[in-house]
Symmetry: C2
Subunit: 379 residues, 2 copies
């Protein structure tokens, strides 16, 4: 119940452990085809250039930026958490002229401020995080997508934590490039990064004047491997692709809408339980992530000791705050297969026990009762 | 029995499928520690900076080059196959001034020619492939290591195919940086790249004037995650590290010397069998790789049809030639757990059958008989 990796279903672990075939074996090529097709469904796009990069989420970020940016290109990084900051860092290393549009950790961006900075800077690419894993903040994208496109720029979106838990509407919003991770709401072990590129992003890559600085992440080369030619590029992480295949099948079998509703329900139950224990969300209503609930640590709690006890006594991991929120917030994940009633109830009960041991009293059983009431209402 | 991935032992697949914990979970940190310690044993080094990069072998190559090279640095790439050529490509993208020292595919380098080009170019780094997967050629390193060090340059070695199957003596030869893959003689699925850096390489990184172009592969950042501080960098591929842990344990349980001897034995048996069928190695004696035997395709054989039939009828994959050797050679892998008598006997028998179907007659059973004789002698 941390900010990822999430729980992995037994069938996904079983797929992971299937016999390893060659990376150009006809069977594996079929797995790749089906992974691509299922990723398109989850990203809600028809783009051919939708695939799983052979690295974790940050490798997906670097793939997008390294292929879209040439030295001297202007990049606006919207920074309201760790991962927006990472985008700025990666873009600088790729030679971009980076403008950081900043907000305090825990806040979302308004369309107006994005409009202002886009007008001022006339960037090639605007990078923004859909679901900031470091703060639990949801960033609405609809108006921002319109603004960025009206200015002729490309929109790059970090969907690491949102994909599979919240609608990620690549084609409807015209998002030009996006990357995700497998270990959050897709409930697959970490090791691959789903990415997708739309037609404007591919045009930008086709008209590059310089080579992509990374050979490993060069989309021009990846296109020949994942695309029709199947030209050998690198040896893909075969078993990780088996696991992603099974994880995606589970996502689509459940159905995207049902999956999003499930994430919302358990988030509501968790929040109600925490509220009954006097613990408040650190993110305002309307900007909260269903899959990652960030709350203020109650006064007087020893953060490190409490999280260690949760892990050791109850086998429950939650995340601490990052950056300026370190020691001030907890991040409680309900991602993919982790988003279930037994986790919510166990966590609330375990938390009560851990708080009691630090002489912090909350009404006995109030958290679990309040969560149970939300479940009762919903059924 | 292709050029990798090799067969994976059931216990390694089982480790791969163990429950996914968090990337900062105390249990996972212990797994990382033990992976590092076992990698040091396999690389025959004491260097702290020995770890598994979160990508496949080519990501390891890029990690080494991107961290050692700054724009304008001189790099000599010794190119006698696909992977030497890839080093040159990666180094150019990192801004190196690259000199390609070339040999025909299938040949090894002599120390004299390396001495000449090193004297001429005074490079910062010389990159060379220990075991060229594309050609099956072994490159002796002892004299070359001395030459490169005498010239004050750094030696970077591609050990993708050699590690775990041939001695890779990092400390004895003073190799400054090396990378490998998990899916060859370590018999672990692909997805991680073991790398190691010696003191001179770390000094060179510490005195960089520019930042590493890749954030994902920046060794300065990786040092803080894999090193003492355990500072969060990226989410490591947790389950892949479990698998590598178990694969390395198996390597060390067998013992390096016993493992090298096993690779040599099965290579000898395979060669004897092929010779009895009139099929010759494409690499001269003394430069052949025990784990990857490259042979000339017999006159009149339809390469694609034969390899398809081997795969479909017998479930045996072998590799075709690459580059100028395409259609001219086969590459038969006996790597890690694949290096066993049943594979050698099955392959020779299956090959005889496939050749017969193309009306290419070989003495009946001669291949298997000759291999069996080698085994009888050795026991």
């Amino acid at each position: 119940m941390g900010p990822g990796p999430s729980d992995i279903h037994a069938s996904v672990l079983a797929a992971l452990a299937a016999p390893t075939v060659g990376h150009l074996d006809p069977y594996f090529l079929q797995v790749m085809d089906e992974v691509q097709s299922m990723l398109r469904a989850v990203f809600q796009t028809t783009s051919d250039m939708t695939l799983a990069v052979s690295g974790t989420g940050s490798a997906g970020m670097e793939t997008c930026i390294a292929n879209l940016i040439e030295p001297g290109d202007r990049f606006i990084a919207c920074v309201n958490g760790v991962f927006g900051g990472r985008m700025a860092d990666v873009a600088e290393r790729c030679g971009a002229v980076v403008t950081k549009q900043e907000r305090d950790f825990g806040e979302a961006f308004d369309p107006e401020e994005i409009e202002r900075v886009v007008r001022e800077q006339a960037p090639k690419v605007v990078g923004i995080v859909h679901a900031e894993t470091s703060t639990g903040v949801l960033q609405p994208l609809e108006d921002i997508a319109r603004i960025v496109h009206d200015a002729g720029a490309l929109l790059l979106v970090d969907c690491v934590t949102s994909l599979g838990g919240l609608p990620v509407e690549i084609d409807r919003l015209g998002i030009d490039a996006a990357y995700s991770g497998t270990q959050k709401c897709l409930s697959c072990p970490p090791g691959l990064s789903p990415v997708t590129f739309g037609p404007r992003a591919l045009d930008a890559m086709d008209s590059r004047k310089t080579r992509v600085k990374s050979w490993y992440l060069d989309v021009g080369l990846l296109r020949n491997y994942w695309g029709g030619e199947r030209a050998y590029h690198h040896t893909a992480p075969i078993n990780m692709n088996y696991a992603l295949h099974q994880a995606l099948r589970r996502v689509l079998d459940e159905g995207l809408d049902a999956r999003f509703a499930r994430h919302r329900l358990h988030h509501q139950a968790l929040k109600a339980g925490l509220a009954a224990m006097g613990i408040d969300c650190s993110v305002p209503e309307g900007r909260q992530l269903p899959m990652l609930t960030s709350v203020w640590i109650p006064e007087g709690v020893d953060d490190g000791r409490l999280r260690s006890q949760l892990l050791q006594d109850f086998g429950v991991e939650i995340g601490g705050g990052l950056g300026p929120l370190k020691g001030r917030t907890w991040r409680i994940g309900l991602m993919g297969d982790s988003a279930r009633r037994s986790n919510v109830m166990l966590f609330l009960t375990a938390l009560e026990q851990c708080l009691k041991q630090q002489d912090i009293r909350v009404p006995v059983g109030a958290g679990a009762d309040a969560a149970a009431a939300v479940y009762a209402e919903s059924s």
